[in-house]
Symmetry: C3
Subunit: 210 residues, 3 copies
């Protein structure tokens, strides 16, 4: 399987995970109808990639290839019909979100390197791609975005690790598809461990304890 | 009148309607001064078109042709001075909003087809153009956007119908300006009927009734 | 010193001021960890410039030149460690914010003229560049943006003055770097005076007094 195809597959998996995440979050936190569920699923799924492609100066992947949008709509539809079965939604939402974050961080960094961005900027673009969709989701749902909140455990840091692995490997002369998979697994593992053991990043000196 | 001119005229009408809508909404729901009124009028009016043009990869129409901005400022100014006369603002706001939605949905879909986007993507871009300005308006006013809310009646669905008519006509080989007008009228009619008869899209299974 | 270098220096100063502003505002108004502080610093600092460059259709300066991002991170880091020393944060925040607003308004208008935008559009792009980063900051912190609020004193109007001076000078045939400095000083002075003497822009007729 070519690196190109591995990246496409990871991208579609990230879109599906984020679509489930966005749609289930919408159902859980707001009074939304089917349009709101689908819209939040799609926005969460394709938002990060759209920001990434606009910053890279190219037509967003979503508008070039119908598979992205169909995958996002499939995730939203599944969430709509399964929502009543899932009584405890918070755990699967967090796992889908972690998967989307991991996959998009490595894809964003990979694309930034392809476009000739410097290492620091490639890490930033990876993180933006990873956290972008969820941040738009939270802004639309009128909540402080997960990525900024002190008690949502490590979120941007795992994405930074993933993007950093891709960028460091590229600097060292590697750029195979399996490095993206390693980066995504490190991000996913770090995110899940930080949720499990309630790791938090340091707060500003003098801030009251959480 | 050429198709080009019909589209320009519809675009300016949509901008004027959304500028009135955004400015009156600002006056009604927040403590804003003249700058806030004008800014929300302009953002509501040109926001959808700017998102559309950024996604299409071209310089936004607003920055290429001064008539867009002047029309938006005229709508904001009119709203500022008329606001105290209009004691019951909610109905005209809803009608201006429906007009902007209708006109922008057909223009967004038309432009997407011109740029060679696929049918699914053209419908999506039409809907984004229609709901984009109002969504930015609601985010800035710290409210859950109309398009997502379960009790704001049909909103994205009429825009989808309008964009769908334009796309279907194009697939069937028609692309005249009057098809845009038909699409806009269908969207406007559906939106107004859904407000009048309180039609709502289905909510997720198991959600509490509205 | 060339006009090019003056503009770069002013841009980096604006980024540093907005990074301090965004990071201190985050610490003051929300429960954020170090990631939230840095992210809000960076977003406030580079948000206006990113919007500007996306609207101009070019790769955002942040991704072309690492000095922008490093300057923003330096501002965020400084704010993180100094925050507990600064017991009364509101005054320095307002001054940093005024400095960022002034510098970005003139840079945005200057760049718009370079790209051949008309005078009205150049003023608009200057204002968007000035208020953009702070508006994203406020949206992410779930507050009504400063620029829209009736009791935040003059904010967009000083930015309009600064951009207007740059555009008027250009129309009159001047385009030296010192005109940008004059524009920025007028904006900064007007903003500080409006805070000191509590100047407000007019509210809509019939609105209750502040």
């Amino acid at each position: 399987m070519s690196t190109q195809n591995i990246i496409l597959l990871l991208d579609l998996m990230g879109i599906f995970a984020f679509a489930l995440d966005g749609a289930l979050t919408a159902i859980r936190t707001a009074r939304v109808d089917i349009v709101g569920v689908m819209a939040l699923g799609v926005v969460t799924a394709i938002g990060g990639g759209i920001i990434r492609d606009v910053l890279l100066g190219e037509t967003p992947a979503t508008f070039q290839d119908w598979r992205y949008l169909v995958t996002a709509l499939a995730g939203g539809t599944l969430a709509f019909f399964l929502s009543s079965q899932l009584t405890h939604l918070s755990k699967p939402i967090l796992l889908f979100d972690a998967a989307g974050l991991s996959l998009f961080a490595v894809i964003g960094a990979t694309k930034a390197l392809e476009f000739g961005f410097g290492p620091l900027q490639a890490v930033l673009l990876g993180v933006i791609t990873g956290v972008g969709g969820g941040t738009i989701r939270d802004v639309l749902l009128n909540r402080i975005p997960t990525v900024l909140s002190a008690n949502s455990h490590l979120y941007a840091i795992p994405a930074m690790l993933a993007a950093g692995i891709v960028v460091a490997a590229d600097l060292a002369g590697f750029s195979a598809g399996w490095i993206a998979i390693v980066g995504a697994l490190v991000c996913f593992g770090t995110r899940v461990l930080s949720l499990r053991y309630r790791w938090n990043a340091p707060s500003p000196p003098g801030a009251p304890p959480l």
